[in-house]
Protein backbone atom coordinates (compact mmCIF):
# COMPACT_ATOMS: atom_id res chain seq x y z
CA UNK A 1 0.00 0.00 0.00
CA UNK A 2 1.55 3.37 -0.91
CA UNK A 3 2.29 5.49 2.13
CA UNK A 4 0.82 8.92 2.67
CA UNK A 5 3.12 11.93 2.69
CA UNK A 6 2.80 15.12 4.68
CA UNK A 7 5.25 17.02 2.50
CA UNK A 8 4.11 20.50 1.49
CA UNK A 9 2.69 20.62 -2.04
CA UNK A 10 5.04 22.36 -4.43
CA UNK A 11 3.74 22.22 -7.95
CA UNK A 12 0.54 21.90 -9.86
CA UNK A 13 0.41 19.07 -12.40
CA UNK A 14 2.44 20.21 -15.40
CA UNK A 15 -0.43 21.03 -17.74
CA UNK A 16 -2.45 22.88 -15.12
CA UNK A 17 0.66 24.78 -14.01
CA UNK A 18 1.34 25.97 -17.56
CA UNK A 19 -2.30 26.91 -18.10
CA UNK A 20 -2.40 28.76 -14.80
CA UNK A 21 0.65 30.85 -15.67
CA UNK A 22 -0.55 31.53 -19.20
CA UNK A 23 -4.13 32.51 -18.43
CA UNK A 24 -4.30 33.74 -14.84
CA UNK A 25 -4.46 37.46 -15.74
CA UNK A 26 -7.09 36.91 -18.37
CA UNK A 27 -9.25 34.83 -16.02
CA UNK A 28 -8.81 37.32 -13.19
CA UNK A 29 -9.89 40.16 -15.48
CA UNK A 30 -13.01 38.30 -16.61
CA UNK A 31 -14.01 37.34 -13.07
CA UNK A 32 -13.28 40.74 -11.54
CA UNK A 33 -14.28 43.07 -14.36
CA UNK A 34 -16.85 41.31 -16.51
CA UNK A 35 -18.63 39.55 -13.65
CA UNK A 36 -17.77 42.13 -10.98
CA UNK A 37 -16.98 39.52 -8.35
CA UNK A 38 -15.62 41.20 -5.18
CA UNK A 39 -11.81 41.37 -5.18
CA UNK A 40 -11.34 39.04 -2.21
CA UNK A 41 -13.44 36.31 -3.90
CA UNK A 42 -11.75 36.38 -7.31
CA UNK A 43 -8.97 33.95 -6.42
CA UNK A 44 -11.50 31.51 -4.96
CA UNK A 45 -13.48 31.41 -8.20
CA UNK A 46 -10.34 30.80 -10.27
CA UNK A 47 -9.27 28.17 -7.76
CA UNK A 48 -12.52 26.23 -8.20
CA UNK A 49 -12.07 26.25 -11.97
CA UNK A 50 -8.49 25.01 -11.78
CA UNK A 51 -9.43 22.17 -9.42
CA UNK A 52 -12.13 21.22 -11.91
CA UNK A 53 -9.58 21.51 -14.75
CA UNK A 54 -7.29 19.07 -12.95
CA UNK A 55 -10.21 16.69 -12.35
CA UNK A 56 -11.46 16.75 -15.94
CA UNK A 57 -8.17 17.37 -17.76
CA UNK A 58 -8.61 14.34 -20.00
CA UNK A 59 -11.83 15.79 -21.41
CA UNK A 60 -10.29 19.15 -22.32
CA UNK A 61 -8.82 19.32 -25.84
CA UNK A 62 -5.05 19.83 -25.93
CA UNK A 63 -4.62 22.88 -28.19
CA UNK A 64 -3.82 26.17 -26.37
CA UNK A 65 -6.91 27.80 -27.90
CA UNK A 66 -9.20 24.97 -26.73
CA UNK A 67 -7.65 25.03 -23.30
CA UNK A 68 -8.11 28.79 -22.98
CA UNK A 69 -11.71 28.55 -24.18
CA UNK A 70 -12.45 25.83 -21.61
CA UNK A 71 -10.97 27.89 -18.77
CA UNK A 72 -12.81 31.04 -19.87
CA UNK A 73 -16.05 29.04 -20.08
CA UNK A 74 -15.23 27.64 -16.64
CA UNK A 75 -14.72 31.01 -14.95
CA UNK A 76 -17.80 32.49 -16.61
CA UNK A 77 -19.83 29.59 -15.32
CA UNK A 78 -18.30 29.68 -11.85
CA UNK A 79 -18.92 33.44 -11.70
CA UNK A 80 -22.58 32.93 -12.56
CA UNK A 81 -22.70 30.26 -9.86
CA UNK A 82 -21.21 32.77 -7.42
CA UNK A 83 -23.94 35.30 -8.15
CA UNK A 84 -26.72 32.71 -7.99
CA UNK A 85 -25.43 31.69 -4.59
CA UNK A 86 -25.25 35.27 -3.40
CA UNK A 87 -28.31 36.72 -5.08
CA UNK A 88 -30.52 33.70 -5.70
CA UNK A 89 -31.50 33.24 -9.32
CA UNK A 90 -31.28 36.97 -9.98
CA UNK A 91 -27.97 37.67 -11.75
CA UNK A 92 -26.58 41.13 -12.43
CA UNK A 93 -28.47 42.40 -15.47
CA UNK A 94 -25.56 42.30 -17.93
CA UNK A 95 -24.54 38.69 -17.22
CA UNK A 96 -25.63 36.52 -20.11
CA UNK A 97 -26.26 32.79 -19.80
CA UNK A 98 -24.54 31.66 -23.00
CA UNK A 99 -21.22 33.09 -24.15
CA UNK A 100 -18.67 32.60 -26.88
CA UNK A 101 -15.48 32.04 -24.88
CA UNK A 102 -13.22 33.04 -27.76
CA UNK A 103 -14.97 36.40 -28.13
CA UNK A 104 -14.99 36.93 -24.36
CA UNK A 105 -11.26 36.14 -24.18
CA UNK A 106 -10.36 38.37 -27.15
CA UNK A 107 -12.35 41.23 -25.70
CA UNK A 108 -10.75 40.84 -22.27
CA UNK A 109 -7.26 40.60 -23.77
CA UNK A 110 -7.81 43.86 -25.70
CA UNK A 111 -8.84 45.59 -22.47
CA UNK A 112 -5.88 44.16 -20.56
CA UNK A 113 -3.50 45.35 -23.29
CA UNK A 114 -4.98 48.81 -23.24
CA UNK A 115 -4.70 48.96 -19.45
CA UNK A 116 -1.05 47.98 -19.86
CA UNK A 117 -0.54 50.74 -22.45
CA UNK A 118 -2.17 53.33 -20.20
CA UNK A 119 -0.08 52.17 -17.25
CA UNK A 120 3.09 52.85 -19.26
CA UNK A 121 2.08 56.28 -20.57
CA UNK A 122 3.63 59.36 -18.95
CA UNK A 123 1.56 60.18 -15.86
CA UNK A 124 0.37 63.57 -17.17
CA UNK A 125 -0.81 62.03 -20.43
CA UNK A 126 -2.58 59.20 -18.59
CA UNK A 127 -4.36 61.65 -16.28
CA UNK A 128 -5.55 63.78 -19.18
CA UNK A 129 -6.98 60.71 -20.90
CA UNK A 130 -8.57 59.49 -17.69
CA UNK A 131 -10.29 62.82 -17.12
CA UNK A 132 -11.46 63.06 -20.71
CA UNK A 133 -12.57 59.50 -21.44
CA UNK A 134 -13.19 57.76 -18.14
CA UNK A 135 -14.50 60.66 -16.09
CA UNK A 136 -16.14 62.42 -19.04
CA UNK A 137 -14.86 65.97 -18.56
CA UNK A 138 -14.93 68.23 -21.60
CA UNK A 139 -11.65 69.66 -22.96
CA UNK A 140 -12.72 73.08 -21.59
CA UNK A 141 -13.22 71.67 -18.09
CA UNK A 142 -9.87 69.90 -18.28
CA UNK A 143 -8.20 73.11 -19.46
CA UNK A 144 -9.55 74.89 -16.37
CA UNK A 145 -8.50 72.07 -14.02
CA UNK A 146 -5.01 71.87 -15.48
CA UNK A 147 -4.56 75.65 -15.98
CA UNK A 148 -4.11 75.21 -19.72
CA UNK A 149 -5.24 77.28 -22.68
CA UNK A 150 -8.42 75.74 -24.19
CA UNK A 151 -6.74 74.88 -27.50
CA UNK A 152 -3.66 73.40 -25.80
CA UNK A 153 -5.77 71.05 -23.69
CA UNK A 154 -7.60 69.78 -26.79
CA UNK A 155 -4.38 69.28 -28.73
CA UNK A 156 -2.62 67.64 -25.81
CA UNK A 157 -5.49 65.18 -25.34
CA UNK A 158 -5.45 64.37 -29.06
CA UNK A 159 -1.68 63.74 -28.98
CA UNK A 160 -1.99 61.50 -25.91
CA UNK A 161 -4.83 59.58 -27.51
CA UNK A 162 -2.78 59.10 -30.66
CA UNK A 163 0.22 57.89 -28.63
CA UNK A 164 -1.99 55.45 -26.70
CA UNK A 165 -3.54 54.15 -29.91
CA UNK A 166 -0.12 53.64 -31.57
CA UNK A 167 1.28 51.83 -28.52
CA UNK A 168 -1.88 49.68 -28.33
CA UNK A 169 -1.51 48.64 -31.99
CA UNK A 170 2.19 47.83 -31.50
CA UNK A 171 1.47 45.72 -28.44
CA UNK A 172 -1.38 43.89 -30.18
CA UNK A 173 0.91 43.02 -33.08
CA UNK A 174 3.63 41.68 -30.78
CA UNK A 175 1.23 39.59 -28.68
CA UNK A 176 -0.82 38.26 -31.63
Amino acid sequence: MPTETNAKPQLLPQRAEAAYRAHYDLLRFIVARRFKIPADEVCGVIHDVFVSFIRHEAKVAQSPADERAWLVGGVCNASRYYWRKHRGEELPADIEEYIDPTAVADDAIARLLLADVLRRLPARCRELLRKRYSEGYTPDEIATMESLARGSAKNLISKCLLAARAAFCRLRRTTA
Binding site: P101, R111, D116
Partner: protein
Protein backbone atom coordinates in the same frame (compact mmCIF):
# COMPACT_ATOMS: atom_id res chain seq x y z
CA UNK B 1 -12.99 55.43 -53.93
CA UNK B 2 -13.86 59.12 -53.96
CA UNK B 3 -10.40 60.32 -55.05
CA UNK B 4 -9.74 62.19 -51.82
CA UNK B 5 -6.61 61.85 -49.68
CA UNK B 6 -7.31 59.21 -46.98
CA UNK B 7 -7.38 60.69 -43.50
CA UNK B 8 -4.64 59.79 -41.03
CA UNK B 9 -5.31 58.19 -37.67
CA UNK B 10 -4.57 61.56 -36.06
CA UNK B 11 -7.20 63.24 -38.27
CA UNK B 12 -9.80 60.63 -37.52
CA UNK B 13 -9.14 60.69 -33.77
CA UNK B 14 -9.40 64.50 -33.84
CA UNK B 15 -12.66 64.13 -35.78
CA UNK B 16 -14.04 61.73 -33.16
CA UNK B 17 -13.07 64.23 -30.48
CA UNK B 18 -14.64 67.02 -32.54
CA UNK B 19 -11.36 68.95 -32.35
CA UNK B 20 -11.96 71.79 -34.80
CA UNK B 21 -8.45 73.11 -34.12
CA UNK B 22 -7.01 70.07 -35.90
CA UNK B 23 -9.64 69.12 -38.51
CA UNK B 24 -12.69 70.50 -40.21
CA UNK B 25 -15.26 68.18 -38.64
CA UNK B 26 -18.00 68.75 -41.25
CA UNK B 27 -15.57 68.19 -44.12
CA UNK B 28 -14.29 64.92 -42.61
CA UNK B 29 -17.85 63.73 -42.00
CA UNK B 30 -18.76 64.33 -45.64
CA UNK B 31 -15.59 62.63 -46.93
CA UNK B 32 -16.06 59.55 -44.74
CA UNK B 33 -19.61 59.12 -46.00
CA UNK B 34 -18.21 58.54 -49.49
CA UNK B 35 -14.99 56.62 -48.65
CA UNK B 36 -15.20 53.00 -47.50
CA UNK B 37 -11.52 52.85 -46.49
CA UNK B 38 -11.85 55.84 -44.17
CA UNK B 39 -15.19 54.57 -42.85
CA UNK B 40 -13.66 51.19 -41.95
CA UNK B 41 -10.70 52.86 -40.19
CA UNK B 42 -13.08 55.17 -38.36
CA UNK B 43 -15.01 52.10 -37.17
CA UNK B 44 -11.79 50.66 -35.71
CA UNK B 45 -11.05 53.92 -33.94
CA UNK B 46 -14.58 54.09 -32.58
CA UNK B 47 -14.03 50.64 -31.09
CA UNK B 48 -10.79 51.90 -29.58
CA UNK B 49 -12.72 54.91 -28.26
CA UNK B 50 -15.19 52.59 -26.53
CA UNK B 51 -12.31 50.63 -24.97
CA UNK B 52 -10.60 53.74 -23.61
CA UNK B 53 -13.89 54.98 -22.18
CA UNK B 54 -14.44 51.68 -20.33
CA UNK B 55 -14.13 52.24 -16.59
CA UNK B 56 -13.11 48.61 -16.04
CA UNK B 57 -10.03 49.25 -18.20
CA UNK B 58 -9.11 52.23 -16.01
CA UNK B 59 -9.69 50.20 -12.84
CA UNK B 60 -7.17 47.73 -14.22
CA UNK B 61 -4.44 50.35 -14.70
CA UNK B 62 -3.08 50.32 -11.13
CA UNK B 63 -3.23 46.50 -10.89
CA UNK B 64 0.19 44.90 -10.97
CA UNK B 65 0.18 42.00 -13.37
CA UNK B 66 2.90 39.48 -14.07
CA UNK B 67 3.57 36.51 -11.81
CA UNK B 68 0.22 35.05 -10.75
CA UNK B 69 -0.24 34.48 -7.04
CA UNK B 70 0.42 31.00 -5.76
CA UNK B 71 -2.84 29.33 -4.87
CA UNK B 72 -1.99 27.07 -2.00
CA UNK B 73 -5.48 25.55 -1.97
CA UNK B 74 -5.15 24.39 -5.57
CA UNK B 75 -1.71 22.99 -4.86
CA UNK B 76 -3.02 21.11 -1.85
CA UNK B 77 -5.95 19.71 -3.82
CA UNK B 78 -3.72 18.73 -6.74
CA UNK B 79 -1.31 17.06 -4.38
CA UNK B 80 -4.10 15.17 -2.61
CA UNK B 81 -5.57 14.01 -5.92
CA UNK B 82 -2.21 12.78 -7.15
CA UNK B 83 -1.56 10.88 -3.94
CA UNK B 84 -5.02 9.37 -3.96
CA UNK B 85 -4.61 8.34 -7.59
CA UNK B 86 -1.62 6.15 -6.75
CA UNK B 87 -3.39 4.56 -3.77
CA UNK B 88 -6.56 4.07 -5.84
CA UNK B 89 -4.71 1.92 -8.38
CA UNK B 90 -3.71 -0.43 -5.59
CA UNK B 91 -7.21 -0.57 -4.07
CA UNK B 92 -8.90 -0.94 -7.44
CA UNK B 93 -6.69 -3.88 -8.40
CA UNK B 94 -7.63 -5.56 -5.11
CA UNK B 95 -11.35 -4.83 -5.51
CA UNK B 96 -11.79 -5.76 -9.16
CA UNK B 97 -10.29 -9.20 -8.50
CA UNK B 98 -13.14 -9.99 -6.09
CA UNK B 99 -16.94 -10.21 -6.50
CA UNK B 100 -18.80 -6.93 -6.05
CA UNK B 101 -20.65 -8.27 -2.98
CA UNK B 102 -17.36 -8.49 -1.10
CA UNK B 103 -16.40 -4.84 -1.75
CA UNK B 104 -18.09 -3.43 1.37
CA UNK B 105 -15.97 -5.79 3.50
CA UNK B 106 -12.77 -4.60 1.81
CA UNK B 107 -13.76 -0.95 2.20
CA UNK B 108 -14.61 -1.48 5.87
CA UNK B 109 -11.19 -3.04 6.42
CA UNK B 110 -9.43 -0.20 4.52
CA UNK B 111 -11.01 3.03 5.80
CA UNK B 112 -8.67 5.25 3.75
CA UNK B 113 -9.62 3.53 0.48
CA UNK B 114 -12.86 5.40 -0.35
CA UNK B 115 -11.40 8.38 -2.20
CA UNK B 116 -12.35 10.50 -5.18
CA UNK B 117 -9.62 8.79 -7.21
CA UNK B 118 -10.97 5.31 -6.42
CA UNK B 119 -14.47 6.38 -7.51
CA UNK B 120 -13.07 7.73 -10.79
CA UNK B 121 -11.10 4.52 -11.35
CA UNK B 122 -14.25 2.43 -10.90
CA UNK B 123 -16.22 4.77 -13.17
CA UNK B 124 -13.54 4.42 -15.86
CA UNK B 125 -13.86 0.64 -15.66
CA UNK B 126 -17.66 0.91 -15.83
CA UNK B 127 -17.48 3.14 -18.93
CA UNK B 128 -15.32 0.54 -20.71
CA UNK B 129 -18.02 -2.08 -20.02
CA UNK B 130 -20.98 0.15 -20.93
CA UNK B 131 -21.66 -1.21 -24.41
CA UNK B 132 -20.35 -4.73 -23.85
CA UNK B 133 -21.86 -5.57 -20.46
CA UNK B 134 -24.25 -2.78 -19.47
CA UNK B 135 -25.70 -4.69 -16.51
CA UNK B 136 -22.22 -5.25 -15.07
CA UNK B 137 -21.35 -1.63 -15.83
CA UNK B 138 -24.42 -0.54 -13.86
CA UNK B 139 -23.41 -2.75 -10.94
CA UNK B 140 -19.93 -1.18 -10.97
CA UNK B 141 -21.50 2.28 -10.97
CA UNK B 142 -23.70 1.35 -8.01
CA UNK B 143 -20.57 0.25 -6.16
CA UNK B 144 -18.83 3.50 -7.19
CA UNK B 145 -21.74 5.50 -5.81
CA UNK B 146 -21.52 3.84 -2.44
CA UNK B 147 -17.76 4.56 -2.37
CA UNK B 148 -18.46 8.18 -3.42
CA UNK B 149 -20.82 8.61 -0.49
CA UNK B 150 -17.81 8.18 1.79
CA UNK B 151 -15.51 10.70 0.06
CA UNK B 152 -14.69 13.32 2.67
CA UNK B 153 -14.26 16.45 0.48
CA UNK B 154 -17.81 17.72 -0.24
CA UNK B 155 -16.92 19.19 -3.65
CA UNK B 156 -15.06 16.04 -4.65
CA UNK B 157 -18.01 13.96 -3.50
CA UNK B 158 -20.53 15.95 -5.57
CA UNK B 159 -18.26 15.89 -8.61
CA UNK B 160 -17.83 12.12 -8.36
CA UNK B 161 -21.50 11.42 -7.78
CA UNK B 162 -22.46 13.65 -10.70
CA UNK B 163 -20.13 11.59 -12.89
CA UNK B 164 -21.46 8.30 -11.49
CA UNK B 165 -25.11 9.23 -12.02
CA UNK B 166 -24.47 10.54 -15.51
CA UNK B 167 -22.97 7.18 -16.44
CA UNK B 168 -25.75 5.32 -14.63
CA UNK B 169 -28.12 7.12 -16.99
CA UNK B 170 -26.08 5.82 -19.92
CA UNK B 171 -26.09 2.24 -18.62
CA UNK B 172 -29.83 2.35 -17.91
CA UNK B 173 -30.47 3.75 -21.39
CA UNK B 174 -28.54 0.92 -23.00
CA UNK B 175 -30.51 -1.54 -20.86
CA UNK B 176 -33.75 0.02 -22.10
CA UNK B 177 -34.74 1.26 -18.62
CA UNK B 178 -35.54 4.71 -19.91
CA UNK B 179 -37.62 6.15 -17.06
CA UNK B 180 -34.90 5.23 -14.57
CA UNK B 181 -32.27 6.66 -16.93
CA UNK B 182 -34.15 9.94 -17.12
CA UNK B 183 -34.43 10.12 -13.37
CA UNK B 184 -30.69 9.33 -13.07
CA UNK B 185 -29.94 12.45 -15.13
CA UNK B 186 -32.00 14.52 -12.68
CA UNK B 187 -29.95 13.15 -9.77
CA UNK B 188 -26.72 13.79 -11.69
CA UNK B 189 -27.81 17.37 -12.35
CA UNK B 190 -28.49 17.91 -8.66
CA UNK B 191 -24.89 16.94 -7.87
CA UNK B 192 -23.44 19.09 -10.68
CA UNK B 193 -25.46 22.05 -9.36
CA UNK B 194 -23.70 21.74 -6.02
CA UNK B 195 -20.28 22.45 -7.55
CA UNK B 196 -19.09 25.97 -8.37
CA UNK B 197 -17.32 24.77 -11.51
CA UNK B 198 -19.93 22.14 -12.42
CA UNK B 199 -21.05 23.77 -15.68
CA UNK B 200 -19.10 21.47 -17.96
CA UNK B 201 -20.42 18.37 -16.24
CA UNK B 202 -23.91 19.82 -16.41
CA UNK B 203 -23.58 20.20 -20.18
CA UNK B 204 -22.60 16.53 -20.44
CA UNK B 205 -25.53 15.48 -18.24
CA UNK B 206 -27.97 17.47 -20.37
CA UNK B 207 -26.56 15.81 -23.49
CA UNK B 208 -26.99 12.40 -21.85
CA UNK B 209 -30.61 13.30 -21.03
CA UNK B 210 -31.10 14.11 -24.72
CA UNK B 211 -29.92 10.63 -25.71
CA UNK B 212 -32.40 9.08 -23.25
CA UNK B 213 -35.30 11.24 -24.47
CA UNK B 214 -34.44 10.22 -28.01
CA UNK B 215 -34.65 6.53 -27.13
CA UNK B 216 -38.05 7.22 -25.54
CA UNK B 217 -39.23 8.70 -28.82
CA UNK B 218 -39.72 12.15 -27.22
CA UNK B 219 -38.20 13.92 -30.19
CA UNK B 220 -39.36 17.50 -29.55
CA UNK B 221 -37.81 17.38 -26.06
CA UNK B 222 -34.68 15.74 -27.48
CA UNK B 223 -34.25 18.64 -29.91
CA UNK B 224 -34.62 21.26 -27.15
CA UNK B 225 -32.29 19.38 -24.82
CA UNK B 226 -29.67 18.82 -27.52
CA UNK B 227 -29.74 22.53 -28.38
CA UNK B 228 -29.33 23.44 -24.72
CA UNK B 229 -26.35 21.04 -24.42
CA UNK B 230 -24.76 22.38 -27.59
CA UNK B 231 -25.00 26.00 -26.36
CA UNK B 232 -23.44 24.97 -23.07
CA UNK B 233 -20.59 23.10 -24.78
CA UNK B 234 -20.08 26.14 -27.02
CA UNK B 235 -19.63 28.17 -23.83
CA UNK B 236 -16.55 26.03 -23.19
CA UNK B 237 -15.36 26.26 -26.79
CA UNK B 238 -15.76 22.47 -27.02
CA UNK B 239 -16.48 22.16 -30.74
CA UNK B 240 -16.29 18.38 -30.74
CA UNK B 241 -19.05 18.03 -28.15
CA UNK B 242 -21.08 20.79 -29.80
CA UNK B 243 -21.04 18.67 -32.95
CA UNK B 244 -22.14 15.57 -31.06
CA UNK B 245 -25.05 17.49 -29.52
CA UNK B 246 -26.06 18.97 -32.86
CA UNK B 247 -25.89 15.53 -34.43
CA UNK B 248 -28.37 14.32 -31.80
CA UNK B 249 -30.57 17.32 -32.64
CA UNK B 250 -30.43 16.45 -36.35
CA UNK B 251 -31.28 12.79 -35.75
CA UNK B 252 -34.29 13.81 -33.65
CA UNK B 253 -35.39 16.32 -36.30
CA UNK B 254 -35.25 13.57 -38.90
CA UNK B 255 -37.18 11.13 -36.73
CA UNK B 256 -39.79 13.81 -36.12
CA UNK B 257 -40.29 14.08 -39.86
CA UNK B 258 -38.35 17.33 -40.31
CA UNK B 259 -35.91 15.62 -42.64
CA UNK B 260 -34.92 18.72 -44.60
CA UNK B 261 -34.13 20.66 -41.40
CA UNK B 262 -32.21 17.65 -40.07
CA UNK B 263 -30.22 17.52 -43.29
CA UNK B 264 -29.43 21.25 -43.01
CA UNK B 265 -27.95 20.65 -39.53
CA UNK B 266 -25.99 17.58 -40.72
CA UNK B 267 -24.47 19.58 -43.57
CA UNK B 268 -23.43 22.32 -41.14
CA UNK B 269 -21.84 19.71 -38.88
CA UNK B 270 -20.07 18.12 -41.85
CA UNK B 271 -18.51 21.49 -42.66
CA UNK B 272 -17.27 21.99 -39.09
CA UNK B 273 -15.93 18.44 -39.01
CA UNK B 274 -13.47 19.30 -41.76
CA UNK B 275 -11.55 21.36 -39.18
CA UNK B 276 -11.57 18.60 -36.58
CA UNK B 277 -9.88 15.29 -36.09
CA UNK B 278 -12.94 13.16 -35.39
CA UNK B 279 -13.04 10.50 -38.15
CA UNK B 280 -15.66 8.43 -36.32
CA UNK B 281 -18.08 11.33 -36.22
CA UNK B 282 -17.25 12.30 -39.82
CA UNK B 283 -18.22 8.78 -40.90
CA UNK B 284 -21.42 8.80 -38.83
CA UNK B 285 -22.50 12.19 -40.17
CA UNK B 286 -21.85 11.10 -43.77
CA UNK B 287 -24.06 8.08 -43.10
CA UNK B 288 -26.80 10.24 -41.59
CA UNK B 289 -26.65 12.63 -44.55
CA UNK B 290 -27.06 9.63 -46.85
CA UNK B 291 -30.17 8.48 -44.97
CA UNK B 292 -31.65 12.01 -45.01
CA UNK B 293 -31.12 12.34 -48.76
CA UNK B 294 -32.64 8.90 -49.16
CA UNK B 295 -35.79 9.97 -47.26
CA UNK B 296 -35.99 13.14 -49.35
CA UNK B 297 -35.72 11.14 -52.56
CA UNK B 298 -32.30 12.57 -53.50
CA UNK B 299 -30.93 9.15 -54.35
CA UNK B 300 -27.78 10.28 -56.19
CA UNK B 301 -26.55 12.32 -53.21
CA UNK B 302 -27.71 9.57 -50.85
CA UNK B 303 -25.56 7.03 -52.64
CA UNK B 304 -22.52 9.36 -52.75
CA UNK B 305 -22.66 9.98 -49.00
CA UNK B 306 -23.32 6.30 -48.20
CA UNK B 307 -20.23 5.32 -50.20
CA UNK B 308 -18.19 8.02 -48.39
CA UNK B 309 -19.45 6.75 -45.03
CA UNK B 310 -18.60 3.18 -45.93
CA UNK B 311 -15.07 4.17 -47.00
CA UNK B 312 -14.54 6.10 -43.76
CA UNK B 313 -15.78 3.20 -41.64
CA UNK B 314 -13.53 0.85 -43.57
CA UNK B 315 -10.51 3.09 -42.83
CA UNK B 316 -11.48 3.02 -39.16
CA UNK B 317 -11.81 -0.76 -39.20
CA UNK B 318 -15.41 -0.40 -37.97
CA UNK B 319 -16.68 -3.58 -39.65
CA UNK B 320 -20.23 -3.54 -38.29
CA UNK B 321 -20.67 0.02 -39.57
CA UNK B 322 -19.29 -1.00 -42.98
CA UNK B 323 -22.05 -3.61 -43.09
CA UNK B 324 -24.65 -1.07 -41.99
CA UNK B 325 -23.57 1.24 -44.84
CA UNK B 326 -23.92 -1.71 -47.22
CA UNK B 327 -27.49 -2.10 -45.95
CA UNK B 328 -28.16 1.61 -46.65
CA UNK B 329 -26.69 1.27 -50.15
CA UNK B 330 -28.87 -1.78 -50.78
CA UNK B 331 -31.97 0.12 -49.67
CA UNK B 332 -31.09 2.96 -52.07
CA UNK B 333 -30.60 0.49 -54.94
CA UNK B 334 -34.07 -0.88 -54.30
CA UNK B 335 -35.56 2.61 -54.27
CA UNK B 336 -34.03 3.52 -57.63
CA UNK B 337 -35.21 0.25 -59.14
CA UNK B 338 -31.87 -1.55 -59.25
CA UNK B 339 -33.55 -4.49 -57.62
CA UNK B 340 -31.05 -7.28 -58.22
CA UNK B 341 -28.07 -5.21 -57.01
CA UNK B 342 -30.10 -4.08 -53.99
CA UNK B 343 -31.17 -7.60 -53.05
CA UNK B 344 -27.58 -8.83 -53.41
CA UNK B 345 -26.32 -6.06 -51.13
CA UNK B 346 -28.98 -6.79 -48.51
CA UNK B 347 -28.28 -10.53 -48.60
CA UNK B 348 -24.57 -9.77 -48.23
CA UNK B 349 -25.26 -7.44 -45.29
CA UNK B 350 -27.50 -10.01 -43.56
CA UNK B 351 -24.88 -12.74 -43.96
CA UNK B 352 -22.13 -10.44 -42.69
CA UNK B 353 -24.18 -9.50 -39.62
CA UNK B 354 -24.88 -13.17 -38.92
CA UNK B 355 -21.21 -14.05 -39.29
CA UNK B 356 -20.40 -11.46 -36.64
CA UNK B 357 -23.10 -12.75 -34.32
CA UNK B 358 -25.17 -9.56 -34.75
CA UNK B 359 -28.37 -11.53 -35.06
CA UNK B 360 -30.92 -8.80 -34.34
CA UNK B 361 -29.35 -6.63 -37.06
CA UNK B 362 -29.40 -9.61 -39.41
CA UNK B 363 -33.07 -10.05 -38.54
CA UNK B 364 -33.85 -6.44 -39.47
CA UNK B 365 -32.09 -6.77 -42.84
CA UNK B 366 -34.04 -9.97 -43.49
CA UNK B 367 -37.26 -8.13 -42.72
CA UNK B 368 -36.26 -5.54 -45.35
CA UNK B 369 -35.60 -8.39 -47.79
CA UNK B 370 -38.99 -9.93 -46.95
CA UNK B 371 -40.70 -6.61 -47.65
CA UNK B 372 -39.02 -6.29 -51.05
CA UNK B 373 -39.70 -9.90 -52.01
CA UNK B 374 -43.37 -9.42 -51.13
CA UNK B 375 -43.45 -6.34 -53.31
CA UNK B 376 -42.05 -8.48 -56.13
CA UNK B 377 -44.64 -11.15 -55.29
CA UNK B 378 -41.88 -13.71 -54.79
CA UNK B 379 -44.05 -15.48 -52.23
CA UNK B 380 -41.93 -18.61 -51.70
CA UNK B 381 -38.71 -16.76 -51.24
CA UNK B 382 -40.45 -14.17 -49.03
CA UNK B 383 -41.78 -17.00 -46.85
CA UNK B 384 -38.32 -18.46 -46.42
CA UNK B 385 -36.89 -15.02 -45.64
CA UNK B 386 -39.60 -14.21 -43.07
CA UNK B 387 -38.81 -17.54 -41.39
CA UNK B 388 -35.11 -16.72 -41.35
CA UNK B 389 -35.82 -13.26 -39.89
CA UNK B 390 -37.92 -14.79 -37.10
CA UNK B 391 -35.19 -17.34 -36.44
CA UNK B 392 -32.48 -14.66 -36.31
CA UNK B 393 -34.49 -12.64 -33.78
CA UNK B 394 -35.21 -15.76 -31.72
CA UNK B 395 -31.49 -16.65 -31.64
CA UNK B 396 -30.66 -13.08 -30.64
CA UNK B 397 -32.74 -13.61 -27.47
CA UNK B 398 -35.82 -11.68 -28.54
CA UNK B 399 -38.57 -11.89 -25.95
CA UNK B 400 -41.86 -13.72 -26.33
CA UNK B 401 -43.97 -10.77 -27.53
CA UNK B 402 -41.52 -10.20 -30.41
CA UNK B 403 -41.42 -13.89 -31.32
CA UNK B 404 -45.20 -13.87 -31.48
CA UNK B 405 -45.15 -10.93 -33.89
CA UNK B 406 -42.52 -12.54 -36.08
CA UNK B 407 -44.35 -15.89 -36.16
CA UNK B 408 -47.48 -14.03 -37.21
CA UNK B 409 -45.55 -12.46 -40.07
CA UNK B 410 -44.04 -15.77 -41.17
CA UNK B 411 -47.45 -17.43 -41.22
CA UNK B 412 -48.98 -14.49 -43.09
CA UNK B 413 -46.26 -14.70 -45.75
CA UNK B 414 -46.61 -18.45 -46.05
CA UNK B 415 -50.39 -18.02 -46.28
CA UNK B 416 -49.80 -15.34 -48.97
CA UNK B 417 -51.81 -12.76 -47.07
CA UNK B 418 -48.87 -10.60 -45.99
CA UNK B 419 -48.26 -7.11 -47.40
CA UNK B 420 -45.24 -4.78 -47.30
CA UNK B 421 -47.29 -2.69 -44.80
CA UNK B 422 -47.50 -5.68 -42.48
CA UNK B 423 -43.71 -6.13 -42.68
CA UNK B 424 -43.22 -2.42 -41.87
CA UNK B 425 -45.60 -2.71 -38.92
CA UNK B 426 -43.78 -5.77 -37.57
CA UNK B 427 -40.41 -4.04 -38.03
CA UNK B 428 -41.62 -0.98 -36.13
CA UNK B 429 -43.11 -3.25 -33.41
CA UNK B 430 -39.82 -5.15 -33.05
CA UNK B 431 -37.75 -1.93 -33.06
CA UNK B 432 -39.88 -0.38 -30.30
CA UNK B 433 -39.59 -3.61 -28.24
CA UNK B 434 -42.14 -2.51 -25.63
CA UNK B 435 -43.34 -5.36 -23.49
CA UNK B 436 -47.06 -5.09 -22.86
CA UNK B 437 -47.76 -3.25 -26.12
CA UNK B 438 -50.60 -4.88 -28.01
CA UNK B 439 -49.75 -6.47 -31.35
CA UNK B 440 -52.29 -4.96 -33.74
CA UNK B 441 -51.14 -5.58 -37.31
CA UNK B 442 -52.90 -3.97 -40.28
CA UNK B 443 -55.61 -6.18 -41.84
CA UNK B 444 -54.13 -8.79 -44.19
CA UNK B 445 -55.02 -8.99 -47.88
CA UNK B 446 -58.28 -11.00 -48.29
Amino acid sequence: MSGHRHYTTADLLAYLDENEDLVNVAEVAAAIASCTTCAVRLGELQRFGRLIADREVWREVPVHTGQPPSIMDVLTEADRMEREKRAAEYDFAALIATPLETWPRYLAAHPSAPTEALVRRIVDAAVVELERQPAYSLALLEAADSVAGRVSDPNGQSDCRGEVWKNRANALRILGRYEEALSATVTAERFADEIAAGGFMLAQIIYTRGTVLFKMGRFAETIQTARDASRRFAGYGDVKRVIHARNLEAIALTEQGETAEGLRVYLLIAQQLQQLDDPQMAARVAENIAVSHQHLGNYVQARTYAVTAQERYRELGAESEVIRAEWTLGAIDLLVGETEIGLTRLRRAAAAFEARGMLADAGFVKLALTEELLRLEEWDEAGVMAGQAAEAFARSGARLHLSTALSFLREAVQGRSATPELVRYVREYVTADEEGRRFEPPSPVQ
